[in-house]
């Protein structure tokens, strides 16, 4: 409609801004809404289009950006008191790549992307549009909720242990974590540098493919950015899984604590089999070990990354008679971040546990090798995204239980694999997502299976009534 000028970017952006403002009190999905900037970008795009300029596919399509992704001149808080007033002097690479997409606002998240429910933001929790008394998932809860509620046609999130896929599952939208290195991390405020990846949320896998196309690509400004060609992702959007080998992890389905989740995801697998895919059981036995490896590796890296927030160069500075006092008074993180930083510092400290981090790294290698072996037998893995649907805001999960919400998503981060969550059913009105995992740089397989699934199902077309 934008291309045929039946609708201008300004009109479209105005619509989403209005809806965002209307639902913000209910959802608290944004940390900041950037109305003026969004309309300015929209007006610029309309002008350029009217002059006949060819712009990218997403030009004029507004979106929301997770608030741990740097945006020049716009506060980037990481949902933390430590960065409440921080205004980056530069745009993240992904933001530059989306320069013609009006930015509706900065989406809320768990503080410093650490969490599984978007409960730890210093600016209040986000609510799930399907049930306002439940979490949207985390840490990209804001990004997921905004798309689910129709406040943004797409959003960007980041995924370190499942922080795109799990909230996508909880909110009944599609979310995709690319292969590690596909998307530049330049400008993403780091949580765990060897695990973090930026990726899209949208209603459909097709829209995710369009956003992925826009944000991918080698970036010399990110030393971990992969120098691999970016294919035309839309070319893989075929309704065809004939002969594709889909693996179902036996232990995951057997041990899934929520019976509906396992049932619904297996039913979806059955539909893909009817569509021509070949299903087989595979073994992925390392559930607890995967979690333990992740805890050691991610918290250790977080401890190192968050050391920069010391009140010296930027961010909040607390009072102090001397430097030491200034450091400790400046580092006013919430409980979850503090817990992970102590855990991570412990894992790295020679006196306390000299081998902890290395143990986590060895376990990580084991997981990577095991998954590599599995992908000799199958093309794609299919499993639940999360052990259960969204939990209640006041459930008060203890830390280990909360970490378990990511049990099925973590392996893809440890091995750097691409993975996506797509809506595939529901339980008592709450969405359930199925996760697809593929070998490195095989986003094409995710797109092919995901597209086929969304051609033969309609879960991605359902909308939450709570926010109608």
């Amino acid at each position: 409609m934008l291309n045929t000028r039946r609708l201008s970017s300004r009109e479209l952006t105005h619509y989403y801004l209005e809806r965002s403002e209307k639902l913000q009190p209910k959802l608290n999905g944004y940390i900041s809404i950037t109305q003026e900037q969004a309309l300015e970008t929209a007006a610029q795009v309309d002008q350029l289009c009217s002059q006949g300029q060819e712009l990218g596919t997403l030009a004029g399509i507004p979106g929301a950006i997770k608030d741990n992704i740097s945006t020049q001149g716009v506060p980037t808080t990481c949902a933390s008191r430590v960065l409440a007033e921080y205004i980056p002097p530069f745009d993240a690479t992904v933001v530059k790549k989306l320069a013609h997409s009006p930015m509706l606002g900065k989406a809320s998240l768990d503080e410093f992307a650490m969490g599984t429910g978007n409960l730890t933001s210093a600016f209040g929790p986000v609510r799930n549009p399907w049930d306002l008394e439940r979490v949207p998932g985390g840490s990209s809860g804001g990004s997921a909720a905004l798309v689910a509620a129709g406040c943004a046609p797409f959003s960007l999130g980041s995924d370190t242990g499942g922080s795109i896929r799990q909230p996508a599952s909880y909110c009944g939208v599609t979310g995709l974590k690319p292969t590690y290195g596909r998307v530049s991390r330049n400008g993403l405020i780091a949580f765990a540098s060897s695990l973090d990846q930026i990726g899209p949320f949208a209603w459909t896998i097709e829209d995710c493919a369009l956003v992925l196309q826009a944000i991918c690509g080698h970036d010399p400004g990110d030393a971990t950015s992969a120098a691999v060609d970016v294919p035309d992702f839309t070319a893989y959007l075929h309704n065809d899984v004939s002969g594709l080998r889909i693996g179902l992890p036996q232990e995951t389905f057997s041990n899934c604590p929520h019976p509906d989740t396992a049932k619904v995801v297996l039913r979806a697998a059955g539909e893909l089999e009817k569509a021509g895919a070949e299903l087989s059981w595979v073994s992925m036995p390392y559930e607890k070990e995967v979690m333990a490896a992740y805890i050691l590796v991610a918290t250790a890296e977080a401890s190192s990354n968050l050391a920069r927030f010391d009140g010296v160069n930027f961010g909040y500075r607390g009072a102090g008679e001397n430097l030491e006092e200034m450091y400790t008074s400046s580092r006013r993180f919430g409980n979850e971040v503090s817990r992970r930083l102590v855990m991570g510092t412990f894992a790295l400290s020679q006196k306390q546990c000299g081998e902890c981090y290395e143990l986590g790294q060895r376990a990580r290698q084991l997981v990577d090798s095991h998954l590599g072996n599995i992908f000799q037998q199958v093309d794609v893995l299919l499993l639940p995204t999360a052990p259960s649907p969204a939990y209640k805001l006041d459930e008060g999960q203890d830390p280990l239980t909360a970490y378990y919400n990511d049990i099925y998503t973590i392996p893809a981060n440890l091995a750097g694999l691409p993975a996506a969550s797509l809506p595939c059913g529901e339980s008592e009105g709450l969405p359930i997502g199925m996760q697809l995992m593929a070998p490195k740089f095989r986003e094409d397989l995710l797109l092919r299976v995901g597209y086929t699934w969304q051609c033969c199902s309609d879960w991605h077309l359902r909308r939450p009534q709570e926010v109608e």
Partner: protein, 95 residues
Amino acid sequence: MLISNKGIEETAKLAKLALSDKQLNALGDQLQEILEFAQVLGDLPLAHIQPMAGVYRENGNGTEDKARLSQAQVLALAPDSRQGMIRVPRVMDQC
């Protein structure tokens, strides 16, 4: 006991975190539980497995070492600055 209260205090100090007694006590129980859980890794055959630091890193060539922000931009971010320098409380206790 995989981590003592003293160990937590020392670790928090290393992490430059000022935690209240209440927070330290709560952390003690939580970290104990997490560390006990992490002991499952001891049952894995990891002795001959190389640690995996990351998925991969490209050829190791660094980026050119040049400033990407101006001094003015950097100072604009600093909580306290004077005469082109970032100002912090005294480093040494006695001068």
